[in-house]
């Protein structure tokens, strides 16, 4: 880059003028994109904010809005309704209650611990691993028949918040399982395949780029009462006719499975990129110095792949946390998620102000998470 600048100065007699016209054209080139984003991205979000604080309402007149129970002037009421509502955390026999914002602060502290804890002069590693475990493990969901088992059950008097935590735990579980499933695939492609690895990578990712709804539809066909799974069970004699496995469709299990299926192809990509860019000589050096394969993997490969793993995790977590299509199609009433609550506020419930608060809350959570981990995204080239 430095060389470029030098040559520019040499070739252009009045450097300042050329520089200025270049910077002018730079902003000129950027302006259409900026205008479009301002008009159709920033302005809409500003309107969400106006609605969430009662500065805009659905009613045609102020009186009509007031009768419908809408806020008609600036107030944080809807926000405090959400943030002050009590949340009960049921874990290990105890069930303490606290307002949502306290739980939020706790989560941010844990996030900071997980991301920056490693820099502490003492116990850094334990702080890091500890916060990560406390942050992730409670939400992991294990589908057991038609219901699910969780280490920690978070509920609230406010049903949207209960749904929010259910969404978090669904997305988190899907992301973790997707990473666990995709890592060996990425590893295999990066280390066991020759030139054909890029072709295989495209074959793995291709389903992700085909229609999402159609893949959900395929699962509906497979999981219905007379679907592939149940028929196979009948035919093999594992289940008697008419005694099908009922929890296959319209449960949280279905939502987990379909989301996993939908997103797992894409997860392979960032992990593959991280492994592919790794200097193979490091592994050779490690083995030469007497490290076993396992040790070399744990001490070299895994740390180098970590940014890719985090990026992969986020690539699944961010889109799935607002998911509302899959629950509607395969989740039934048991699979209802936070995204469905937002969609309903703008659909059948027609309560835009509450919906606006939920939408901004969701966006805030996602942006905090992305902001905090953006350096991982950048490391794999996914971000910048």
């Amino acid at each position: 880059m430095a060389a470029t600048e030098v040559s520019e100065v040499v070739h252009a007699p009045p450097p300042s003028r050329r520089r200025r016209s270049r910077s002018l054209s730079t902003y000129l080139l950027l302006s259409p994109g900026v205008v479009v984003l301002l008009a159709f991205f920033v302005a809409p979000l500003y309107y969400v904010f106006l609605f969430s604080t009662g500065q805009r309402y659905q009613g045609v007149t102020k009186a009509a809005a007031f009768i419908n129970g809408e806020l008609t002037s600036f107030s944080w009421d809807r926000w405090s309704e959400l943030l002050d509502s009590d949340v009960t955390v049921k874990a290990l026999g105890a069930s303490p209650s606290m307002p949502l914002w306290v739980l939020g602060l706790l989560a941010v502290a844990l996030l900071a611990g997980a991301l920056r804890g490693g820099r502490l002069p003492r116990y850094g590693r334990s702080v890091m691993v500890g916060s990560l475990v406390v942050l992730v493990v409670p939400f992991l969901t294990l589908p057991v028949g038609s219901s699910v088992a969780r280490v920690v059950e978070i509920t609230s008097e406010n049903s949207s918040i209960t749904l929010f935590f259910r969404s978090v735990s669904t997305s988190l579980t899907v992301s973790v399982v997707a990473v666990l499933m995709a890592f060996p695939v990425a590893y295999y492609l990066a280390f066991c395949r020759g030139k054909s690895k890029y072709t295989w990578l495209v074959i793995v990712i291709a389903p992700f780029l085909t229609s999402y709804l159609l893949r959900v539809l395929a699962f509906k066909v497979i999981l219905t009462d007379d679907g592939l799974v149940n028929t196979a069970l009948f035919d093999s004699g594992l289940r008697s006719d008419g005694n099908q496995v009922e929890w296959l469709l319209y449960t949280q299990f279905t939502v987990l499975l379909v989301l996993l299926y939908a997103w797992v192809p894409f997860v392979t990509l960032p992990i593959f990129v991280a492994l592919e860019n790794m200097d193979r000589r490091l592994l050779e050096a490690a083995t030469d110095l007497g490290a076993s394969r396992l040790r070399a993997f744990a001490k070299i490969t895994l740390p180098i792949a970590a940014p890719g793993i985090v990026a992969a995790f986020l690539f699944v977590f961010i889109p799935t946390i607002g998911e509302f299509v899959t629950p509607q199609l395969v989740g039934g009433s048991k699979g209802y998620l936070f995204g469905s609550a937002i969609a309903d506020d703008f659909g059948q419930n027609s309560d835009w102000q509450s919906g606006a608060v939920l939408a901004l809350f969701l966006m805030g959570v996602v942006l905090v998470l992305t902001g905090a981990t953006s350096r991982f995204l950048r490391a794999t080239g996914g971000g910048t």
Partner: protein, 277 residues
């Protein structure tokens, strides 16, 4: 260490395990599509086993479904509109991001990519509020859907184009300018030909994003439902399922071909600018 198939990274047995997992993974990914393909030719009125006789009636039924065809045409229109607008915006935004050094470059990059990390449902309801209750209410139509689709596909186009533009040798541009070409001529005669493959794949990706988009279309389309919205309405009811399956099959095959095409074009482009595939 030197046993066949064994490297520093994987032992022989590890390799076998990984291969097995890879095969399982591919089956998991592709089995549902194969099942759809099979059922699209099954004569039963509900998609269940055991299979009945071979038929193509669902294909002809889908073909004759006027609503479906209308929805599909709308989707294609919006898809083409989105890919043209998003790619055009992508090119002129990506060029300065890749080439120029200016104040706020990182901020601008982040700004252009933010829609990628905002859940689509949020973008959808936000646009709904602006169009319905904004200072200038705009009736919902395909145009409003288009606006939403451009916003969410622009980041993909920029992500595709920036590295491609950045990988072009700066000296090519300098040479052109030294020989008296204006900035515009340089862009048109040097940059544009070199990034044509990236432009094509950005076009395809924007199209694929738009044609599969449900959240924004469902909130902003009003009566002019696009194909995913129509499909969503149909597959919620079991009796409407069968005619949708052939559509699904055709769409899966078409989008698979498009994706492969985009990849082939992209790789050819890489070779052209002298990168490893």
């Amino acid at each position: 260490m030197s046993s066949p198939g064994s490297t520093v990274a994987v032992s022989k047995n590890g390799r076998r395990l990984l291969t097995g997992w890879f095969v399982f993974f591919l089956i998991f990914l592709y089995l549902p599509s194969v099942i759809l393909l099979i059922f699209s030719f099954n004569s039963g009125t509900i998609p269940v086993f055991p299979l009945q006789s071979f038929t193509t009636k669902w294909y002809s039924e889908a073909w004759n479904d006027v609503e479906l065809r209308d929805a599909f045409v709308r989707s294609i229109k919006v898809g083409i509109g989105t890919s043209v607008v998003a790619t055009a915006l992508g090119i002129i935004t990506a060029y300065p991001l890749a080439r120029r050094r200016f104040r706020g470059r990182n901020a601008m990059t982040a700004f252009a990519l933010v829609p990628l990390v905002v859940p689509p449902v949020v973008v959808a309801v936000a646009l709904l509020m602006l169009f319905r209750k904004g200072p200038h209410p705009i009736p919902l139509s395909l145009w409003t859907v288009l606006a939403g689709h451009v916003v969410i596909s622009l980041p993909y186009c920029i992500l595709l184009l920036v590295p491609r533009i950045a990988s072009i040798d700066v000296r090519l541009e300098e040479a052109a300018q030294d020989l008296g070409a204006s900035s515009f001529t340089t862009f048109r005669r040097v940059i544009l030909p070199l990034i044509t493959p990236a432009i094509l794949s950005s076009f395809l990706i924007a199209f694929v994003v738009s044609i599969d988009e449900y959240a924004i279309s469902s909130f902003l389309a009003a009566n002019s439902v696009t194909y995913p919205v129509y499909l969503f309405g149909q597959i919620r009811q079991a009796e409407h399922l069968p005619p949708m399956i052939p559509v699904a099959t055709v769409m899966l095959v078409v989008s698979f071909v498009l994706v492969m095409l985009a990849e082939i074009i992209r790789r050819r482009g890489d070779r052209r600018v002298g990168l490893a595939p």
